[in-house]
């Protein structure tokens, strides 16, 4: 997952969210203060303006009024996190404000905001040149303090001027440790070694890096200490505008070669075949293999059309659905796809903080395929992908092969437009599996654990797929 794709994605989200203009479902629990209510984006997006304390106020009451636990959370935690970030940013700029002390908060949400705002204004007036930046870090910290992998504030996303639709940004490689593990949205851990799983283009391709190459050091630091991944790995997934070269020490087990190479982050072109959200082919003459990289609009129908096409004129022994790296998308698409394999079941629950749950059910108007299903999953299968995976497992609609899913499925996020035309998004309900099991953070464990190795990556082997085919047809 490249940074540019992420930035572009955020932009698309902004743009697109505005077009649909859904009124987001509101939680019944909270009441926002007068004049600070937030609503779903409406109409075409307008130019983003600087973040001010008024925008922070709107976001604060927006969270308290609409977020999953907004009615019950201790609002002081939001303000404290924001205040801490504010002081840190002042110091980060080599400055100090003697008056930058935090008033006691009482637990009265409105009075606490007033106290916070008074202090905030006094402090930022002392460093007017930092005002915009301070507002940004404060609001970022408020949102981050929710500790929710579907809570985010979308703002200031920029793309390089020479960006083309579909381009990646970064070093041009994928690793056995995903970006989401590095940025904290997925708590998955992997054992050493760190290695390249795919080369997409860019600097990695130009330098002759290959799948299976083991990364022994990143900018001189070891990627694992005592078996635990270190922050050094984060440098391998730079985000625009980060452009400092990253130095890799590489080892190619097949040849014994060891070398060091600097890779410069940048835009790189990706192939159409890699970009298509749904791709299919016939394997072993009777297995429909469908790779799906996201639960995009109409993607469930695309998968079903692909299977139908492959089934035309032959008898299939089963379907392999490759959801490795599938970052999720629309829960409706996950439900629709599930409904081709199982009917009359609950696929998930969406629960309020006080435990009132609404059930998502299969759409029994979707025709059943009546085919055995094996789903390939990994640490990159997140959100709607985990909705799908957890339901396949719990409802025995198929078998999961690979590694545990990301555990990034707090709940479906709703967008809210803030006064400076940035967008805040977070869930009002949290997600549970069909048996009310917790999927967020924990993830979905595969039925058959198949771990990628550098040897397989170097040889172009796909043992998870091999296992899937064996499950459908027996070993050949």
């Amino acid at each position: 997952m490249s940074v540019v794709r992420a930035a572009a994605a955020a932009l698309i989200l902004l743009l697109a969210a505005a077009c649909t203009a859904p009124t987001p479902p509101r939680s019944q629990a909270g009441t926002t203060a007068a004049g600070t209510a937030c609503a779903g984006p409406q109409g075409p997006p307008e130019a983003e303006r600087a973040t001010t304390v008024d925008v922070i106020e709107q976001a604060y009451f927006c969270i308290l009024g609409n977020y999953y636990s907004g009615a019950t959370l201790d609002a002081r935690s939001l303000l404290t996190a924001g205040f801490l970030a504010l002081t840190q940013e002042i110091n980060r700029n080599g400055r100090e404000v003697p008056e930058a002390t935090m008033p006691m908060l009482t637990g009265d949400r409105e009075a606490d905001w007033t106290a916070f705002e008074t202090a905030y204004r006094k402090i930022t007036d002392q460093v007017p040149d930092l005002r915009d930046k301070l507002a940004v870090v404060t609001l970022e910290a408020v949102v981050a303090s929710l500790g929710d992998n579907h809570a985010r504030w979308i703002h200031g996303d920029e793309r390089p001027i020479d960006y083309y639709d579909g381009d990646g940004y970064g070093l041009g490689l994928q690793l056995n440790v995903t970006r989401s593990q590095v940025d904290g949205s997925s708590p998955r851990v992997v054992p050493a070694p760190l290695f390249v799983t795919a080369v997409e283009g860019g600097a990695a391709q130009a330098a002759g890096v290959k799948p299976g190459d083991v990364i022994e050091a990143v900018n001189g630091s070891t990627p694992f200490v005592g078996g635990t991944a270190t922050a050094a790995i984060a440098a391998l997934y730079p985000r625009y505008p980060e452009a400092r070269p990253v130095e890799l020490r590489l080892h190619r087990p097949a040849t014994g070669r060891r070398w060091t190479v600097p890779l410069e982050p940048g835009l790189y072109r990706r192939e159409w075949a890699d970009l298509q959200v749904v791709r299919s082919e016939l394997l072993d003459d009777d297995v429909a293999y469908v790779r799906m990289t996201g639960f995009a609009p109409d993607s469930a129908n695309r998968v079903l059309r692909a299977v139908t096409g492959l089934r035309n004129g032959r008898t299939l022994s089963g379907v392999v659905l490759d959801l490795r790296g599938n970052g999720g998308g629309s829960p409706a698409e996950a439900i629709r796809l599930l409904s081709a394999f199982v009917h009359g079941e609950v696929t998930a629950y969406q629960c309020t903080v006080d435990g009132a749950c609404a059930a998502s059910r299969t759409d029994d108007t979707v025709e059943l395929l009546h085919l055995p299903l094996v789903v390939l999953v990994d640490h990159g299968c997140a959100s709607a992908c985990e909705h799908f995976g957890s339901a396949v497992k719990a409802l025995r609609a198929g078998r999961l092969v690979g590694t545990r899913t990301a555990g990034a499925i707090s709940g479906a996020a709703q967008p809210y437009l803030l006064a400076n035309n940035t967008v805040l998004s977070f869930p009002s309900r949290h997600h549970l599996g069909p048996g009310r099991e917790v999927v967020d953070r924990i993830g979905v464990p595969p039925d058959h654990h198949v771990v990628p190795t550098p040897q397989d990556a170097a040889a172009g082997r796909d043992p998870a797929l091999t296992r899937a085919l064996a499950l459908l047809n027996g070993p050949r």
Binding site: A6, Y164, G166
Partner: protein, 382 residues
């Protein structure tokens, strides 16, 4: 991970945006359905039109892997020898039905668009010699007939116009055997990189049509092959950039409000180019692709934005809207004015670069066309 979520979430809603249901009038559909009438061409020549079906056996169809050749329908508009004769159909009733269905227009008879009154005479003999050629490419999901008003006007001014229906990229393309191909490419149109793929396909379509046109059409010998340009709306405009980069027979190009996808080499590109767009396409706007390309265009270039234009102002869309009982949006250019502006600036560009004629309207704002702003200097936000 959340980035991926955002991406996909974005895709979800983007699809909803790309095919908006036009605003409808509140009233009942008129009891006598209105018929759209295209404005008369402004040039001195009578206009003829004909269609060709060409098959490129050198490549499989890019959108239907089960078809081992690419079939294209090409509509030609050209200066005709004389006036009079049967005017050509705008499209078939079936194409009208499928297009309206694809655009989610309801409440009017399905064949409404096929009854649109055109000006070109079907299969009239061609007149003239050493005629300059303009390739036309429509927006994604649209047949090239949605550019008929522009095509007829250019033909009346002495151009041969070759409009390409890019098979499977439109809701309705009638093939040589009478089957009507639908929009298979719509299957993947929300995928990242789709635009780059589509313009690559269209560039290949254009080169193939240029290869075949001289021999495939009886008037082909009258075309001056050294004077070829391309214009298109939306994806068709983006395709003009791609086609010029791939094929140096295309001497000049026009993009009408299309986000661009083809990669211009960093060393630059010197053939003449016109960006003609809506106010969405000013510098610093939502779509940065014109700014990106502008820096790489090193030859004659213009970037003109029309106040009050919307994405369909460069097509027949606003002219057809009344017949579809679609209310114009407030503040948007009326159809007749939109057609006049589009015809004026497109023809001026072609006259200048294919006929070496002076066209001052391209050089500075004009009191006759106050809607036109010249970017990046005098067109708004930057």
């Amino acid at each position: 991970m959340r980035q991926i979520l955002a991406l996909v979430a974005g895709l979800v809603v983007l699809a909803a945006c790309s095919a908006p249901t036009p605003p409808r009038s509140e009233g009942e559909p008129p009891s006598t359905p209105a018929v759209a009438v295209l404005p008369a061409p402004t040039g001195p020549h009578p206009v003829g039109t004909t269609t060709l079906h060409l098959t490129d056996a050198s490549r499989p169809d890019p959108w239907d892997p089960d078809v081992d050749a690419r079939e294209l329908k090409v509509t030609l508009w050209y200066p005709a020898a004389q006036r009079g004769g049967q005017r050509a159909a705008y499209m078939t009733p079936k194409e009208s039905e499928l297009l309206l269905e694809g655009l989610r227009v309801t409440g009017v008879p399905a064949d409404t668009l096929s009854r649109t009154r055109t000006n070109a005479v079907a299969d009239a003999p061609v007149a003239g010699r050493d005629l300059p050629l303009v390739v036309l490419s429509p927006g994604f999901t649209k047949p090239v007939s949605t550019l008929t008003s522009l095509a007829e006007d250019l033909a009346s001014r002495g151009y041969v116009v070759a409009g390409i229906d890019h098979t499977y990229e439109s809701h309705a393309t009638t093939l040589s055997d009478g089957r009507v191909a639908g929009c298979l490419a719509c299957d993947s149109d929300t995928d990242p990189g789709f635009g780059a793929r589509a313009v690559e396909v269209r560039a290949a379509d254009v080169s193939f049509v240029l290869d075949r046109l001289p021999s495939a059409w009886e008037g082909g010998g009258l075309i001056d092959r050294s004077r070829i340009a391309m214009a298109g709306q939306s994806m068709g405009g983006a395709a003009a950039v791609a086609a010029m980069l791939e094929d140096d027979r295309v001497r000049a190009g026009i993009d009408m409000d299309g986000t661009t996808y083809a990669r211009i080499p960093r060393s630059g590109f010197s053939r003449p180019f016109l960006f003609l767009g809506t106010p969405q396409h000013v510098p610093g706007g939502r779509d940065n692709s014109w700014e990106r390309d502008w820096r790489l265009l090193t030859g004659w270039k213009r970037w003109i934005v029309l106040a009050g234009a919307d994405h369909q102002s460069f097509t027949d869309g606003p002219l057809l809207a009344p017949a579809l009982a679609v209310e114009p949006l407030p503040g948007v250019l009326p159809g007749a004015r939109a057609a006049e502006l589009t015809r004026t600036y497109v023809a001026a560009f072609l006259d200048r670069h294919l006929k070496s004629q002076r066209r001052p309207v391209l050089d500075e704002p004009s009191s006759r066309f106050p809607e036109a702003g010249f970017c990046p200097g005098t067109c708004g936000r930057s």
